[in-house]
Symmetry: C2
Subunit: 442 residues, 2 copies
């Protein structure tokens, strides 16, 4: 891809309306464009990052045996009346009347709809457990949308739902998602900490938020620093192993604001390990038993009688993660962004120094691409006539982790190669490809 042909509308300055770095950076590098308050279009650069995040989220859901479905965005108010949440949900729910004056709404979440699907589809406990997920747009009519896609109105979310015959099995399902989330965030190069959390309008009595530390976060958190050292690599997708993992985390006090109790915090956390800070919620899981299955009459046959299924729900903010990763990875002092390789819009930027009318370095850049294509290295060539320093500044914001500089000093088979944040090296293209592809495996 040539930069001159790409649809990456770069802004020269930070837009005044953007208060946090992810919002600033996403507007400046043309990742998104606001279309109305709290509603954004995703332009190619932002879209690529979001799709890579989505793919990782999907793969980790598939690994625990969850099956993907896709529920519509527009729901009937009927099922929300059945569950009793239609009135409760308040003004954040975007309520709609269709041309026949039926009460509809844009789904802010899908507990009701998935319960309706389940109750008409599954009759016997033998088909349990069922883990269903979908990745779909949601709408919450925030009074004051802000911080770009971090607190917007239309957002892209993975939400999963589990159906089990009893509490014990349901907690097994809960723990599978607990592990899937740890693995998901790890692949995104984020250290997200599971914290005991309030259940809010979803309901139930067991809930964890997955939070990444960030000064700009809206969640206040109180945690024992040792929780950062808990490892999940050895955990197996088995009941005991998963229970142990949860146990390892729960050894350490770690809660969000609503669950915070000063005395507990001080009693349970030695002073040197106490951490009061802010974070960004990137995932939230809930166990709520029969809160929806009972009013909506969703039951299965079990030994001759009807049992209401026990349900949980599990959300990851796919679009929000794009911003969260920027908040976590952007280097404020150096003004440098570096995407984790797993979600970078391109693997590598090729930046030729171009003197007006002299295409020599562009030709050199094009020559390189054959080898890159052969080894599945995805690149963008900056063929614009901007000054070299302007280009470097631009790419340091765009955040592609590797840069190949083709300048006047480039001679023979070696190129200036930068692993962003490190000193540059002179390497030939084979060495460069090797380093890039190695970094994809990590």
């Amino acid at each position: 891809m040539f930069f001159s042909k790409s649809f990456i509308p770069i802004l020269k300055n930070n837009p005044a309306e953007a208060k946090i770095k992810s919002h600033q950076l996403m507007l400046r590098t043309g990742m998104i464009k606001q279309s109305s308050a709290g509603i954004y279009s995703w332009l190619p650069l932002g879209f690529k990052v979001m799709k890579k995040i989505e793919k990782i989220v999907r793969e980790e859901q598939d690994k625990i045996g969850a099956q993907e479905i896709l529920m519509p965005t527009i729901q009937s108010a009927e099922i929300w009346r059945e569950s009793g949440r239609y009135k409760d949900y308040g003004e954040e729910m975007l309520r709609i009347k269709d041309r026949q004056s039926r009460d509809m709404l844009y789904g802010p979440t899908n507990e009701e709809l998935v319960t309706d699907i389940f109750r008409t589809s599954v009759k016997s406990y033998k088909s349990l457990p069922q883990l269903l997920y979908h990745i779909q747009w949601k709408f919450r009519d925030e009074l004051r949308p802000r911080f770009g896609i971090m607190r917007c109105r239309e957002f892209y979310m993975k939400d999963a739902y589990s159906f089990d015959i009893n509490d014990d099995e349901a907690l097994f399902s809960y723990n599978k998602f607990f592990l899937a989330y740890l693995k998901t965030f790890k692949r995104l190069n984020l250290s997200a900490i599971p914290m005991a959390a309030d259940t809010g309008p979803i309901g139930g009595n067991l809930s964890h938020e997955f939070i990444i530390l960030a000064d700009t976060g809206e969640s206040k958190i109180y945690t024992d620093k040792r929780i950062f050292d808990v490892k999940s690599d050895e955990t197996k997708l088995q009941k005991e192993s998963l229970k142990n993992l949860r146990g390892e985390f729960e050894k350490f006090y770690s809660v969000t604001d609503e669950k915070y109790n000063e005395k507990d915090f001080n009693d349970k956390v030695p002073e040197e390990f106490r951490l009061k800070t802010k974070g960004i919620e990137v995932g939230h899981i809930f166990y709520f038993g029969d809160k929806y299955s009972k009013p909506m009459n969703s039951s299965v046959d079990f030994q001759g009688k009807k049992e209401f299924v026990k349900m949980g729900s599990y959300g990851v903010g796919v679009s929000r993660l794009v911003g969260a990763i920027i908040e976590a990875k952007y280097d404020d002092k150096k003004e440098i962004m570096k995407w984790p390789m797993s979600v970078s819009p391109y693997d590598c930027a090729i930046i030729p120094l171009i003197n007006k009318g002299d295409k020599k370095n562009i030709d050199k850049a094009i020559n390189l691409t054959k080898k890159l294509k052969e080894h599945n290295v995805d690149y963008i060539i900056d063929d614009t006539e901007e000054s070299f320093s302007a280009k470097m500044k631009k790419f340091n914001l765009i955040g592609i982790p590797f840069q190949i500089i083709i300048g006047n000093k480039t001679e023979g088979d070696n190129f200036e190669f930068i692993n962003v944040g490190n000193d540059s090296k002179n390497l030939n293209i084979d060495e460069i490809v090797k380093i890039i592809n190695q970094s994809k495996k990590n």
Copy 2:
């Protein structure tokens, strides 16, 4: 995947509300579930097919240099007032007031929104052409939704938009999409014919519908049979080559109802080639010049003056194609569905004959899967205790193109293998894998 653990809620009989075969089949095989009038959830089997169609549509857009973006579903009424379509669009547009009483709507199409993105992003003709596409949910509040996902309210669509400096370049872009659509439908194993069509609420004076023949279609078509023999395999992504391709098609009279003129038809088509029949619209492309760019003031600098960009738009109904393929491929007499390999939910069904309490044949089935996994053959094993004839009937509706039957006669290394619609053969697993993977390449 085991059938007993999958979420494929099969219905015993055709639901009374379903009038056409695609609607019947999709409900019976648990591909979709209606959630409210004209609004459906996609269950795993239907979701898999739709995702495979989406992937093919995406790849062919990428091949012509279109860049993927993602616009939101909820739009502001403002931009529709600018273009003048807010009033015109009528009751099919789902109009919404948000909590601040702002006029919003659920996008039925995206000409306005993409023009708004373009005008704030591109300033110079040097950045042209730009081809942008997205694949997103749309809503049209049909008065009488019917035929399942064929004429529903919330539907999944790929819509692309082209921006060029003049008519000549714009027609080059138009023809690129023309070719991309022919290639897309071919990969879906559909013979879709481009027909001169009315432009309706989109506007402009050049338009083609891509139509597949089907008795249950809602479009009346009048065509010269020789158009089915026009080949596009040799066409290159170059101006002349594409123009020639369009010319080859336009040699033959081929129009939809609105464009039909009896005298023309009889004059231009020799009697033996005349075909009056019905079809399903699966794609629609439009050229409308400055219809949106002018009122919305979307221009670029060209030799010192402002030129309104020349635009076209290009739609493919991704969700509708699932139904269209069924309408085209379902064999009414034999009551057999066979998905094209490129979009089948699984590559292969393994159907063991199971006597109560005897797991022998399930074990044989599981033994096979190692080889299948090694060669990326995606399978589903029917481990339910249904009768063999019930299983065969079920899988003939589900439509997976290949079946491996493991019955009491299965001995040694050979299995009964059925390429659906053909006689069964006794083959070993290596031969089976070879046939399946060969069919994926076609």
